[in-house]
């Protein structure tokens, strides 16, 4: 292939690529889902899941013999209080919304 023909082919390829890319970018999307705005309540539900997971881990570690009964009781109480605070705030925000 001569250099001139090669250059011509490259120019054609570049033009097609650019045109294809622009069509792809500006073609109206059928997907109108814009995502949801994350609220404090959604965040609190996430935190609740984390605290429950922490409680499960704590129970498991206690069963494996890692902590004394006193340590376990103290930690469990603290985590339960944290879960309760979160649930109370969820309840409050959801009832205010309703």
């Amino acid at each position: 292939m001569s250099p001139a023909v090669l250059n011509y082919a490259i120019v054609m390829f570049c033009s097609l690529f650019a045109a294809g890319a622009l069509i792809y970018i500006f073609l109206p999307s059928r997907d109108t889902d814009t995502g949801v705005l994350k609220t404090r309540v959604v965040y609190l539900y996430e935190r609740k899941d984390v605290v429950y997971e922490n409680l499960r881990d704590l129970n498991f570690e206690f069963k494996s013999g890692k902590f004394t009964q006193a340590d376990y009781d103290g930690m469990r109480l603290g985590m339960e209080a944290e879960a309760a605070r979160i649930l109370a705030e969820i309840e409050m925000l959801e009832s205010a919304k309703a």
């Binding site: 994350k38 499960r56 209080a81």
Partner: protein
């Protein structure tokens, strides 16, 4: 091909600018039009990847077809260069490596934008941040460090690739390191996006967890491949010389390691939000600094294969990134309030905190040492280098303390740990490690090693002891957890351990990574017992080192299209018994003006390496340097374990067992203060 490359780079820049600018407009407008604009920005970002990929393909094609009309190919390749190294030309020089940075960044961005459904708004903002970084690199490759610059005249052959880079690992090492450096951009983009948006919660951490771990793993592998390359090619017998470029790769790794640990505190307890966000900002900035040091030739190094004027550009980028991070931090810092406080100094939280402080201390020490020549020149007009003794003095104690924390941390409870729990958890690991320490002391003493007279050997003793402590704590975590499941599910211990890992892959994968680090530390500790010897060997002459005897059988020369070489053929005997033949070699690559390169001969076992270097033949006979380096192989095995552990941590957990707690029960429990809020079992 240069025409295609130039067009694609320019088009990619236009698309990246569109992605960034329209991304900003969409973020500000927050209406239906804004959302549609954000979608076009996302698609532009994806299209920019294809454009950069085509440009990279055009450059590799030019290298493979010996197109010396392209200045970059002329300067970094030649006709006789083997094909894999022609492929590696892409990242061998300044312009190519900038293009490679842009390619990897756009590739990461492509995957991120493809997976935008995980959280469209957060991903849109992170995509905008990534596009901003991409604009910078595309400006560089379009206007400052152009990979497709043309020659005025056609030249028959190129200057060739730097001989030090003509080694198989060099085809893998730079991409690994770059994947690590560039990979940090993704968690950075998410962190900045979350801060800008005042995004509630830790979702940005969950979304970037895998990205961060993958980037960290690439960095680890890249650093250790670099160490292996230095060991195999540079021919000085070591693998880490505290060279500025080695240090530059270590800096983001240290801060990234701190980040990987401290995010757990935010995820579990909602703590250290400010710390974490700045940690990832700093890690990203250190990645940029690493690229600056490697590519701008700011400091002299055996690893710096480019010297150029891109320094001010990177310094400006660092300044802009810092300013943007600071502005949004000041504006939205109230959003980063911690939800819990540190309750006790003896807790998992405090062990993470100490781990972070120590890692950042190490990072600061390495940064100071690396930048010291620049600082001393600026202040006193004299370039002063801090060598290995400085780093060893500072880093070895820091490293030992880190191993200690690695052993202690997993055994402490969240919130607070009592003396009773400490005694219960530490009795076995402490006894095992103490026994190992005493045994080693006795064995060494009987072997004539007076370790108390050599600080390095004392450090080695501590490394083995603390390594045992970490291994014992890891084993106790696996066995204890495995036993619980063994009893509960009426199965055997092995199945229990397997189920335990499937239950929390991240945690147990992390332990495997810790074990890999222990193996690396054991390999490093072996340095304290290195031996070396050098001698000129005529035919049939021999030299003794440790248990080994080297007998020179022959001395050969070779000449091919790429290089000429000299080698000695040495028969190796151990305690009088023939072992193998080694051929240490020296090569002079023709296209590079005859720069010599050592091809080291290495007889490697799990116990030690017999490392032989051909140091030339000044008097007509080979001059041989031999070293016995104990335990080196454990470093490379440790790396494989680290990769395996990271892979494990990336595997999703088996479906969790969840327990639903009625809200009413929990709220009432709170009111009654002290009643159990959630009856949750494992």
């Amino acid at each position: 091909m240069p025409l295609l490359g130039n067009f694609c780079l320019l088009f990619a820049l236009a698309l990246a600018i569109y992605c960034f600018v329209v991304g900003v407009i969409a973020a500000v407008s927050k209406n239906a039009v804004g959302y549609r604009l954000a979608e076009t920005a996302r698609r532009a970002g994806m299209a920019s990847f294809v454009a950069v990929l085509l440009a990279a393909v055009a450059l590799v094609y030019s290298a493979l077809t010996d197109d010396f009309s392209v200045a970059y190919i002329l300067h970094h390749s030649n006709r006789a260069l083997p094909a894999p190294y022609k492929f590696a030309v892409l990242w061998s020089g300044q312009e190519g490596s900038m293009l490679f940075w842009a390619l990897l960044l756009s590739c990461y961005g492509f995957v991120l934008r493809l997976r935008h459904k995980v959280d469209q708004r957060l991903v849109a903002m992170a995509s905008m941040v990534l596009a901003g970084i991409q604009v910078f690199f595309l400006i560089l490759v379009n206007f400052v460090a152009k990979p497709f610059g043309m020659m005025d005249r056609v030249v028959a052959d190129g200057n060739g690739l730097n001989p030090l880079l003509q080694y198989p690992e060099m085809v893998i090492h730079p991409p690994m390191l770059y994947l690590g450096y560039v990979g940090v951009s993704v968690p950075f983009a998410f962190a900045l996006a979350a801060l800008i948006m005042r995004y509630p919660g830790e979702k940005w951490i969950h979304l970037t967890r895998k990205w961060t771990m993958i980037a960290w793993c690439f960095q680890s592998v890249g650093i250790l491949l670099g160490a292996h390359w230095a060991y195999a090619v540079l021919g000085w017998g070591g693998y880490w010389g505290w060279d500025p470029v080695e240090n530059a790769s270590l800096l983001p790794w240290l801060s990234g390691t701190a980040f990987l640990h401290s995010v757990m505190m935010q995820e579990k307890r909602g703590m250290m939000k400010v710390w974490n966000i700045w940690l990832i900002f700093i890690t990203f900035m250190l990645s940029i600094l690493g690229t600056l040091l490697t590519r701008a030739g700011l400091v002299s190094s055996v690893h710096a294969f480019a010297q150029s004027s891109i320094g001010p550009w990177f310094t400006t980028l660092l300044g802009v990134v810092f300013a943007v991070c600071l502005i949004f931090y000041i504006k939205n810092r109230d959003h980063l309030k911690a939800e819990n406080k540190l309750e006790s100094l003896v807790s998992r939280e405090s062990s993470f905190l100490f781990n972070n402080l120590v890692l950042l201390g190490a990072c600061f020490a390495v940064l100071c040492g690396t930048l010291f020549p620049i600082l001393s020149e600026a202040v006193r007009g004299v370039k002063m280098n801090l060598g290995a003794p400085f780093y060893n003095k500072v880093m070895i104690p820091i490293g030992l303390f880190l191993i200690f924390l690695t052993g202690v941390g997993p055994l402490l409870a969240w919130r607070s740990t009592s003396y009773g729990s400490i005694k219960r958890n530490f009795a076995i690991p402490a006894t095992v490690s103490f026994t190992v320490m005493v045994t080693l002391m006795v064995v060494w003493y009987r072997s004539g090693i007076r370790f108390w007279t050599d600080l390095n050997q004392i450090y080695a003793l501590l490394s083995f002891t603390l390594g045992t402590l970490v291994t014992a704590t890891i084993a106790s975590e696996f066995i204890r957890g495995g036993r619980v499941l063994q009893n509960k599910l009426q199965t055997n211990l092995l199945a229990g351990v397997y189920l335990l890992m499937r239950r929390n892959m991240r945690r147990y994968g992390g332990y495997v990574v810790h074990f890999g680090v222990v193996l690396v530390i054991i390999g490093l500790a072996g340095t304290a017992f290195n031996k070396d010897q050098e001698k000129e060997l005529g035919v049939a002459d021999s030299m003794q080192i440790g248990h080994y005897e080297l007998r020179n059988q022959e001395y050969t020369q070779d000449d091919n299209a790429n290089y000429r070489s000299e080698a000695a053929l040495l028969d190796v005997y151990k305690d009088g018994k023939y072992l193998t033949r080694l051929n240490p070699e020296e090569r002079w690559f023709k296209a590079s003006g005859g720069q010599p390169v050592h091809i080291v001969a290495n007889y490697s076992t799990l116990v030690e390496d017999l490392y032989v270097i051909y140091e030339g033949s000044p008097n007509g006979h080979p001059f041989i340097k031999a070293l016995v380096n104990p335990l080196v192989n454990w470093i490379w095995i440790g790396v494989l374990v680290i990769i395996f552990g990271t892979g494990m941590a990336l595997v999703p957990n088996a479906a969790p067992v969840t327990a639903q707690v009625p809200k009413a029960v929990a709220v009432s429990a709170m009111e009654k203060q002290g009643m159990r809020a959630a009856g949750v079992s494992e």
